[in-house]
Symmetry: C2
Subunit: 201 residues, 2 copies
């Protein structure tokens, strides 16, 4: 098949198409944009990718992915070191940290227990969490796993394992999402929101 451009450009399109949210069509559009903005986007992007790729490291303390070990969260002296928030994934850590409500430490499990997928406690970053709980420095562990079946199973398992360390174990509240319309919510969420209702005045 005749080609309208060099194979290096094809390689670039194929690699961009692997990013979430970019299909083959938008990968082509992105590539064209990059070709047209060589100096302002393409070259800086190549450099940024290279720099980050060189430095990526998984934090030995909390499992966060960052460019330093300990990561920027663990080495931040302004954070409350007595609270650890347990999340499934780095994406959840980023999301919680963006909310700017929580200023403690984190612990990234790397997934959830799953009988179907054959994920047991040894496949997750659980032993280091228990070790952190055992040091006595941590006073509260917040379980912030997804509200899925696997997430909740993992929460229960962790609560049981953490009981022996005398640490306060809490979990995120269930309820109506802010900005959410009742009409579109599932029964489980509505039931949880009703059960956990609070006094207004």
């Amino acid at each position: 098949m005749p080609r309208s451009h060099g194979s290096e450009i094809d390689t670039l399109i194929q690699l961009l198409a692997k990013l979430p949210g970019l299909g083959p069509r938008s990968a082509r559009r992105s590539t064209l944009q990059l070709l047209k903005k060589r100096d302002s986007v393409m070259v800086p992007l190549a450099r940024a990718l290279e720099q980050v790729a060189e430095k990526i490291v998984i934090c030995g303390t909390c499992g966060n992915i960052d460019t330093t070990d300990p990561c920027h969260v663990c080495e931040d002296g302004r954070r409350d070191r007595t609270t650890v928030c347990v999340v499934e994934d780095v994406a959840d850590l980023w999301a919680l940290d963006r909310s700017e409500t929580y200023r403690g430490l984190y612990h990234v499990l790397g997934g959830t227990l799953s009988a179907l997928d054959g994920v047991g406690p040894d496949e997750l970053n659980i032993a280091p969490l228990l070790a952190r709980a055992a040091t006595g420095e941590v006073k509260e562990i917040i379980l912030a796993l997804n509200a899925t079946v696997d997430g909740q199973t993992t929460s229960h398992y962790l609560a049981e394992r953490l009981a022996e360390f005398g640490v306060k174990v809490t979990a995120l509240a269930h309820g109506v999402p802010v900005g959410g319309e009742l009409d579109y919510l599932d029964d489980g969420t509505l039931a949880a929101a009703l059960k956990a209702r609070g006094t207004v005045s």
Copy 2:
């Protein structure tokens, strides 16, 4: 503000967010994916960007953006060199070439005439097109500009300028898009499709 990751990662997110189709949210998701697929995606992507950035060149003959000059279209010996298809943008060249119906050469104008935006004939890649028409090698010039007001104005202008060279000048057909529902089409398209109707049997 406390940070959950290094500034290099922030730079990467900001650069990815500049790509069409990727907002800040999907740029973050893409970055996380890249961090997790360092060897299979991130490093190859950095290398592909660098390689392409190093070689980008605008074809001196047709205005295509490619890694070689003349570009892969112009130097392809299997193409019909007597037909030149005029397009506004490299994206249009890629689109027409993907359709695998046309196997001639191209000419990228780099835009359309526009009184509003102050784009005159000198701002576009028009003089080289006239020079190509004057060589005598080209027998047909297909005007494949967008069916917008500016695109059609530019088509008329080009048709007039090309008249003196004794070259056949054609334009893409207007009509019902394949797979399109009549109900959703505008009056202009329907009128054009009716006017250009063909005998079925």
